[in-house]
Symmetry: C2
Subunit: 93 residues, 2 copies
């Protein structure tokens, strides 16, 4: 079962599924600035492009290019700047 | 511009975009068996799950788990077996 979702007027689109990593979404963000809130713990892996991220409790943005990852705990908010279309997967726990 | 496409009655869904890697699709395949044809050269990177692939000119299937990649030249066909939902990105050239 593959569930397509859209956020931010279609600037972020994702495909949700489950496999041996658990509940996962594979998505793409178009260039823009976004704030996301988490309801579960999230492990975000950047697979193409780059996310520029201000994590909860951090005061500055950091660059996460393809091949890197970051974690956000449940019940938090984080800000993203996206300068080129960027693909990611998000693994929930 | 993020373009969602569906193949094989929705068993494969992908999101197309362009960034500094060129023309890319990020997709997910539900469990099943598929044959794809290529119109361009494709670099396929498995990002979650596993693809079991019979490449053109090969007689056997090989396993490509998350973190691995394979290439298919333009104008070829390749077969896939998917045992768990699997996310990939495909970079065209």
């Amino acid at each position: 079962m593959l569930n397509v979702n859209e956020y931010f007027d279609g600037q972020v689109k994702s495909i949700g599924f489950e496999n041996n990593e658990g509940q996962v979404t594979a998505g793409v963000m178009a260039p823009g600035e976004y704030e996301f809130g988490t309801s579960q713990n999230e492990l975000m892996k950047v697979v193409s492009g780059e996310l520029i991220v201000k994590l909860p409790n951090e005061s500055d943005f950091s660059n996460y290019p393809a091949g890197t990852e970051f974690r956000v705990a449940a019940g938090a908010k984080f800000q993203l700047k996206v300068e080129q279309a960027t693909a990611y997967i998000c693994i929930y726990s």
